[in-house]
């Protein structure tokens, strides 16, 4: 397991994408899957990293980020998508870019049944709200997909979400 973890590079690839796209503000509600990316962003003096009490705060903050002439991104877990729904109206009504990078729970070897209602519907709910959704199930596709999604969001003023499948992140095995 330790050897396998050393091969994980996708959080660093997302960080590289953020740098290439000049993302300066990162809002997050922590998820285990985002631990490494959050650490990388916090270590970067050019980034302002804001811990939010709820995901909707991040959506609202990034509206201010864009009004102020900077670019931002929001990191969260699938359950947090439910907390963002009404405030997605900001991006939709004002045609402001919104980049959400979502680590999935409740779909692949999940041990906690409370994660299933939101995890099973995360993509559908976002699409119903007219967020452009990219689901990624292979680690090597996470970096390029995040780049393409974020670039499109900034160039076209649309909300996008990259959903990182739980099969990439792994799960706690409670059967033992």
């Amino acid at each position: 397991m330790a050897a396998e973890q050393k091969l994980v590079t996708w959080p660093d690839e997302i960080y590289d994408v953020f740098k290439r796209l000049d993302i300066r503000q990162v809002a997050y509600v922590p998820d285990a899957g985002h631990t490494r990316l959050i650490k990388s962003c916090e270590a970067d003096k050019e980034m302002q990293v804001i811990s939010c009490t709820s995901e909707q705060e991040g959506v609202a903050m990034l509206a201010g980020t864009w009004l102020g002439g900077e670019r931002g991104a929001l990191l969260m877990q699938s359950s947090g998508v439910g907390n963002t729904i009404n405030l997605l109206s900001i991006s939709l009504e004002c045609r402001m870019p919104l980049v959400m990078v979502v680590t999935m729970r409740g779909e692949w070897g999940e041990f906690n049944p409370w994660q299933l209602p939101m995890g099973q519907k995360t993509g559908a709910v976002l699409e119903e709200m007219e967020v452009i959704v990219y689901r990624v199930e292979k680690a090597e596709e996470i970096g390029p997909t995040t780049y393409a999604a974020a670039l499109m969001a900034f160039n076209t003023g649309r909300p996008v979400a990259v959903l990182i499948a739980q099969c990439v992140i792994g799960f706690k095995d409670w059967s033992k």
Partner: protein
């Protein structure tokens, strides 16, 4: 009934007259209409929805524009929906950010139901506990006159709850299209870079 005696439009006139270089974000509802009725401005972004969003939008803006004073101007109901945001703002406390809550202790858009500030909840005390360096509840014109210049000085994050009466005014919005508001704000702030 509100415990406040000042009129929200008198407060708004004083607040806007002193704005100088400030960037302003309003919350939905009455503060949004106050802004439209008294002095619409390219550097005022008025939310007409997204209840609970104003304070956090102010934070993102204050972090992006550290040299400009940023004022969040919202109502008690809108602020109460974003109490988590008050916690996040308090812990960040950018020195160029001030939050002004026009507190009539009522949800005046939806039938004048009481908000928690009408039941004794003290927003200024909550802000102080969250980390705002300067915080106060304002009830008189003298206090208002004393505080307004302070709100536009980047001397530490400030929070004020301004108690007003229950007067209601007609819905006044100069611009209803969110995309236009955003483009107008960005162009006024960033120049041609905004439209690249």
């Amino acid at each position: 009934m509100s415990s406040g005696h000042m009129d929200r439009r008198d407060v708004a006139r004083k607040l806007l007259a002193a704005r100088g270089e400030a960037l302003i974000v309003t919350g939905l509802g009455s503060t949004c209409y106050d802004s439209g009725a008294i002095a619409d401005h390219p550097l005022t972004f008025a939310f007409w929805g997204g209840m609970g969003a104003a304070a956090m939008a102010g934070l993102g803006l204050a972090l992006a524009q550290k040299k400009r004073p940023v004022l969040v101007w919202t109502g008690d109901g809108e602020m109460l929906m974003g109490l988590g945001a008050l916690a996040t703002l308090g812990t960040q406390a950018p020195p160029n950010l001030s939050v002004v809550v026009i507190d009539n202790e009522l949800y005046s858009e939806t039938g004048m139901q009481k908000t928690h500030t009408g039941r004794g909840l003290d927003l200024a005390a909550m802000a102080k506990a969250a980390g705002f360096e300067r915080s106060a509840t304002i009830r008189t014109e003298a206090e208002l006159d004393e505080w307004i210049p302070k709100l536009y000085k980047p001397e530490g994050a400030a929070f004020v709850a301004i108690k007003v009466n229950d007067a209601r005014y007609p819905l006044t919005l100069k611009i209803r299209d969110g995309s236009l508001l955003k483009n107008r704000f960005r162009e006024a702030l960033l120049g041609s870079k905004a439209l690249e």
